[in-house]
C-alpha cells in the first residue's frame, strides 16, 4: 500500500530510509533523556523521603517539557574574552559524539541501523571524541572555574577510558568478535541469564560499572562539576540551549553506557529465562535497571576526592582488568570453560 513511496523517491530512497531510521532512534532517545531527568529527580526524592517534582502535569509528568521550554527561551550569553566560535562548537561536539555512537547499537536481532564489524571500536572512538567538547568548553569560556573543571574531567575520562577499554577487551576475547550483534548472539544458550558474560567476566563487569559512572562524570565521580568547589565545572559559563545540549549529551551518554553494559554483559535482547521469547523489551528492562544504578549511586555515595579517583582508576581498576584478562585467556583453553568456544 505504501509501495509508491520508494518509487517516487527513486535513487534517494536509501538515503531517505536511513534518515527515517535515524529519526526512529534519535526521537525516542531524546524523550528518554527528558524522562530520565524526571526519573532521577523522583527516585532521588523518594530516597531522601521527599516527593520530588509534582506540580507540572499529573504527578509531575510534564516537568521535563517545562524545563526544556524554559531553557529554550533563555538567552545564550557569550562571556567577554571568550572564543565565540569554539564556545558554541563545544556543546555541538558533545551532542554529536553522544548521538553518533548510537548508530551501531543493536536493539534486537534485526533492529540495528549499521551492523558493522568493528562496531565496538567505533563506539569507543566516538565516545572518546566527547572529551573534546569538555576541554574546548573549559578553555573557550575564558574562566578559571571552567578551565579547572575541564582539566579534571579530561584527566578522569582519559584514565577511566583505559579501564573501560580493558573490561571490554575481556568481552571481545570471550565472544571473538567486535560486532555488537555477534557479541549478544554469542551469549545466547539454553541457560538464560547463566549463559551471559557477566558470570565469567564478573570482575570486569564490576570494573565496567564503576568506570562507566566515572566516564560519564556522574556522582560520586562528579568532581568535574563539583558545585561546592568549582561552581559547575566546565559548563559554568553556559546558559540556555547551549547548556541544555551539555545536559542532553550527559544523559544520552548515561543511556549509551548503560545500553553497552546490557549488550556486553547482560545478554542484550536475550531473555533471562530460557522459555520466554527474546525481544526489545528485555534490552529496555536491562538498560532501565542499570540506569537506576546510576541514580542509586548518586543518592547514596559522597563525592570522591580527586586523588582518590585517580588512585582507584590507575592502581586498582586497571590491574584488576589486566589480571582477569590473563585469567580468562588461560581459562578459555581449559575444558572448564562453559560459555561457548571463541571462533
Amino acid at each position: 500500500m505504501l509501495q509508491w513511496i520508494p518509487q517516487a523517491l527513486g535513487p534517494l530512497w536509501p538515503a531517505a530510509l536511513a534518515l527515517l531510521k535515524i529519526i526512529a532512534i534519535a526521537l525516542p532517545l531524546v524523550v528518554a533523556v527528558a524522562y530520565l531527568t524526571l526519573l532521577e529527580r523522583k527516585v532521588i526524592g523518594y530516597m531522601q523521603i521527599r516527593i520530588g517534582p509534582n506540580r507540572v502535569g499529573p504527578g509531575g509528568l510534564l516537568q521535563p517539557f517545562a524545563d526544556s521550554l524554559k531553557l529554550m527561551f533563555k538567552e545564550i550569553i557569550i562571556p567577554s574574552g571568550a572564543d565565540a566560535v569554539l564556545f558554541l562548537l563545544a556543546p555541538i561536539i558533545m551532542i554529536a559524539s553522544a548521538m553518533a555512537a548510537w548508530a551501531v547499537i543493536p536493539f534486537s536481532a534485526e533492529m540495528v541501523l549499521a551492523d558493522i564489524n568493528a562496531g565496538l571500536l567505533y563506539i569507543l572512538a566516538m565516545t572518546s571524541m566527547g572529551v573534546y567538547g569538555v576541554i574546548i568548553a573549559g578553555w573557550a569560556s575564558n574562566s578559571k572555574y571552567a578551565f579547572l573543571g575541564a582539566l579534571r574531567s579530561a584527566a578522569q575520562i582519559v584514565a577511566y577510558e583505559i579501564a573501560m577499554g580493558f573490561a571490554l577487551v575481556g568481552v571481545l576475547m570471550v565472544s571473538g568478535s567486535l560486532n555488537l550483534s555477534d557479541i549478544v548472539r554469542h551469549q545466547a544458550g539454553n541457560f538464560g541469564a547463566l549463559g551471559w558474560n557477566w558470570i565469567p567476566l564478573f570482575p570486569l563487569f564490576v570494573v565496567y560499572i564503576i568506570s562507566m559512572v566515572a566516564e560519564t562524570n556522574r556522582a560520586p565521580f562528579d568532581v568535574a562539576e563539583g558545585e561546592s568547589e568549582i561552581v559547575a565545572g566546565f559548563h559554568v559559563e553556559y546558559s540556555g540551549m547551549a547548556f541544555a545540549l551539555f545536559f542532553l549529551a550527559e544523559y544520552m551518554n548515561m543511556i549509551l553506557v548503560s545500553t553497552l553494559c546490557a549488550l556486553m554483559f547482560l545478554g542484550g535482547w536475550l531473555s533471562p529465562l530460557p522459555f520466554l521469547p527474546d525481544g526489545l523489551v528485555w534490552l529496555l528492562a536491562k538498560v532501565f535497571l542499570v540506569l537506576i544504578l546510576f541514580l542509586w549511586f548518586r543518592a547514596t555515595f559522597p563525592r570522591y576526592r580527586y586523588d582518590q579517583i585517580m588512585r582507584l582508576g590507575w592502581k586498582i581498576l586497571i590491574p584488576v582488568t589486566l589480571v582477569w584478562i590473563v585469567v580468562i585467556g588461560l581459562w578459555m583453553q581449559t575444558p572448564f570453560w562453559l560459555w561457548g568456544g571463541a571462533t
Binding site: D83, L121, Y122, L124, A125, Y132, I135, A154
Partner: protein
C-alpha cells in the same frame, strides 16, 4: 563522478584545508583542533579504502588520546603570538628544503605511470562480510608475532623512561596510605570513658 569518488574528494579537500590551517592559524589551540579535523578526514579516507580497523584506531588513538594530551599542553602554554612569529624567515630555508623532499616523494607516488608503480597487481576485492580486524589480528599475532612483541617492549621501555625522567619525589610531600586508613579500628582513635552523668552538688 561516482559517489565514492565524490566522498574521496570531499574528505581530501577537508584534509588539505585543515592541514593548511594547522600551519597558518594564529592561535595554537586552533592549530591543534585543525590537526584533529585532519586526522578525522584521514580516517574517513581510510574507511573508503576498506581499512576500517586502521581508520577507527586512528580516531581512537590519535584523536581520542594523543591529541587530547597535546591540547592539554598547548592550552597550558602562555604564548605571546607576536614573539612566536619572529623567527619565521630564519626557518624558511630549511622548511623549503623539507617541503621540496616531500613534493618529490609525492610526485613519485602520484606520477606512478612514469615509475612503473602500476605494474603492482590490484588487491583482489574482498567479500561483503569480510572482517579486516580479524585478518589483521591473525597476521599480527602469528606471522609478525616477534616484531610485534619487540615493538611493544620498545614502547614499554619508553614509558618507563619517560616516568623515570619526570618523576621527582619530594621529601616533604605528604601522602595518605589507604590500606592504613582502611585498617583503622574504632579503638585506635576513640576512647570511650565511663563517667557518671552528673556530679553531686557540693552545696557551696
Amino acid at each position: 563522478m561516482s559517489f565514492s569518488s565524490f566522498v574521496f574528494y570531499l574528505f581530501a579537500l577537508i584534509l588539505l584545508g585543515s592541514a593548511l590551517r594547522v600551519i597558518t592559524a594564529r592561535n595554537p589551540v586552533h592549530c591543534v583542533l585543525y590537526l584533529v579535523l585532519s586526522f578525522a578526514s584521514a580516517a574517513g579516507l581510510w574507511v573508503l579504502l576498506e581499512a576500517e580497523f586502521l581508520a577507527i584506531a586512528l580516531v581512537l588513538v590519535y584523536v581520542g588520546a594523543v591529541m587530547v594530551l597535546f591540547l592539554f599542553v598547548v592550552m597550558m602554554l602562555d604564548i605571546n603570538i607576536e614573539r612566536l612569529r619572529e623567527g619565521y624567515w630564519d626557518y624558511l630555508v630549511p622548511a623549503l628544503a623539507v617541503a621540496g623532499v616531500m613534493v618529490v616523494e609525492m610526485l613519485v607516488v602520484l606520477g606512478g605511470r612514469y615509475f612503473g608503480l602500476l605494474e603492482m597487481p590490484q588487491p583482489e576485492a574482498v567479500a561483503a562480510g569480510h572482517s579486516n580486524t580479524r585478518d589483521l589480528g591473525r597476521v599480527l599475532y602469528t606471522f609478525y608475532a616477534y616484531p610485534f612483541e619487540l615493538a611493544a617492549v620498545v614502547l614499554l621501555v619508553a614509558i618507563i623512561a619517560a616516568i623515570a625522567l619526570t618523576l621527582r619525589s619530594r621529601k616533604d610531600t605528604r601522602y595518605q596510605n589507604p590500606s592504613q586508613q582502611v585498617g583503622v579500628r574504632k579503638a585506635d582513635r576513640v576512647r570511650v570513658l565511663n563517667m557518671p552523668s552528673e556530679k553531686q552538688a557540693n552545696g557551696s
